[in-house]
């Protein structure tokens, strides 16, 4: 199980870097929102499974489950709110 945990941790770190590099590569706030969603949707599950593989069912793993649920649910709502605000600013002459 240690090998599985290590591989998942490596995948989580690589996913975080991939999201951040994509964030730097893309232009425009709306495009960059996809990178934030990618980071929330890939790093979190990898960390959760790695934690479960290394520690089993523990209170810390339960907290990670709650953290993942919070970030996934709130990430969707926040991405919608930010995108709506950005489009509203574009349509009403805000800062480009």
């Amino acid at each position: 199980m240690s090998v599985v945990s290590d591989l998942l941790l490596a995948a989580a770190t690589l996913s975080a870097w991939l999201a951040c590099l994509g964030f730097a590569r893309l232009r425009g706030a709306l495009d960059r929102l996809h990178c934030a969603t990618f980071a929330a949707a890939t790093v979190g599950p990898a960390v959760l499974v790695a934690a479960f593989a290394s520690q089993g069912g523990s209170p810390s793993v339960a907290k990670v489950v709650f953290l993942l649920a919070c970030l996934l649910l709130s990430g969707a709502a926040l991405s919608h709110a930010i995108g709506r605000a950005l489009i509203w600013r574009d349509q009403h002459g805000g800062e480009p």
């Binding site: 945990s5 975080a16 951040c20 964030f23 960390v47 919070c70 709130s74 709110a81 509203w88 480009p96």
Partner: protein
């Protein structure tokens, strides 16, 4: 150091290093780009804190990550509405 887990520590440090990009992006550009950069940085920071919690064997770090994750919701929402209406 007792309870130190090197794979988790390496993952945590690697994730923290990735934070340089969104923090750098938050220092440049328009208001919208900065807000998206803050959102990105908060997500990455949450998972870096979670990894460091397992690395050092300190469950209290997970409470920090949970607090950050929960507080980033109203903060980002308020800023998005503020940006939409007044900035």
């Amino acid at each position: 150091m007792a309870g130190l887990s090197l794979p988790w520590l390496a993952a945590g440090i690697g994730t923290i290093l990735a934070l340089v990009i969104p923090i750098g992006a938050a220092l440049h550009g328009g208001v919208g780009e900065r807000l998206v950069a803050v959102q990105m940085a908060s997500v990455v920071t949450c998972w870096a804190l979670a990894e460091l919690s397992f690395a050092f064997g300190q469950p209290s770090f997970l409470d920090l990550a949970l607090t950050l994750g929960l507080l980033s919701v109203p903060g980002t929402l308020v800023f998005a509405i503020f940006m939409e209406r007044w900035l």
